[in-house]
Symmetry: C2
Subunit: 190 residues, 2 copies
């Protein structure tokens, strides 16, 4: 998605060889027009599936998910909640996710009421790096016996292993910008 | 907003005398059509002001804020980030907020880049109860020498003190549903 790649180059801040900060338009301040273009693009890539629900994870995935849902005839969005403590509620599906940023595990949870075996689910998230959050959401979808149709990602760090791991599981991952490397301040897209 | 009140009565779950769970449509699963009606209503109530930006707080305010921003000609949304630790960065505005739910303080932060003295800001949030989160966002707006135009709230717990405190400060708070009491499982709106 060229509009997005141009924006990453124009407004992203590169730190070292593996961090690009995009908080001026994606995950702190939000450019709602750009979000709509992203939502339209996800719709184009997944419209042939009969998607019933969008799943994301708090916080920064939520805005992307609701804007995208508008293009899918306002299907419901469910966001997995993060929790420090292990969830012992029997009315929730949970999964343990390791955060490399915070160097510890956290739990994500979805109420059993909001994912059913009839659901065909599209996962939406802003970043794909090591893939742990996405695998956690997949685990919850599997526990609910629902169907994971695919994942729409805004920025994939192609130099980390998440994309390969998840594609090798047969999951349809559509990343709108895949960064293959960041060297001397220059971003190279796949 | 009658559509919202009817939905709260129909799909809300009441616990005791002060909790109503609305996570089937508002803050876990999201009804995107209802969110659009909420966004339109906020626009009607605040359209006469020349609002430049919407401020909210993670997580559940974010979706409301982006949907609402669409009715204000896609103005930017900024969401304050929560942090356990005190923020020592000089490039961020921060405020300490007490959480009654978690019985401890947390910090909220906004990058100085994303609020400027020229900004006329509308705060959007899902709940107003004790008002601490809203006051934290007001403090950040004040530190940035920006203008707080008002606050759009989906559900106000009228039996808690937040609404009174904030209105007595002269802030234009528009709550789409004000719950005055919850008694024996029955919700009474103002």
């Amino acid at each position: 998605m060229n509009l997005l790649k141009e924006r990453i180059v124009k407004d992203g801040y590169v730190f070292g060889d593996n961090i690009v900060k995009v908080d001026s338009f994606l995950n702190h301040q939000i450019d709602v027009s750009l979000y709509n273009e992203i939502g339209k693009e996800f719709f184009e890539r997944f419209k042939k599936y009969d998607i019933t629900k969008i799943l994301t994870i708090e916080s920064s995935g939520i805005a992307l998910a609701v804007i995208t849902a508008q293009y899918f005839n306002n299907i419901p969005v469910v966001f997995a909640k993060k929790s420090e403590s292990l969830n012992l509620d029997t009315d929730k599906y949970s999964s343990e996710v390791f955060s490399f940023t915070k160097n510890r595990n956290y739990n994500i949870m979805v109420s059993k009421k909001y994912i059913t075996p009839n659901d065909k689910i599209l996962i939406i998230d802003d970043f794909l790096a090591n893939g742990k959050a996405l695998l956690g959401m997949k685990e919850i979808i599997d526990k609910a016996n629902a169907t994971l149709v695919g994942a729409g990602i805004v920025i994939e760090k192609g130099f980390q292993e998440g994309g390969n791991i998840i594609r090798s599981m047969g999951i349809n991952v559509q990343s709108l910008a895949i960064i293959d490397s960041i060297e001397n301040g220059t971003i190279t897209f796949r």
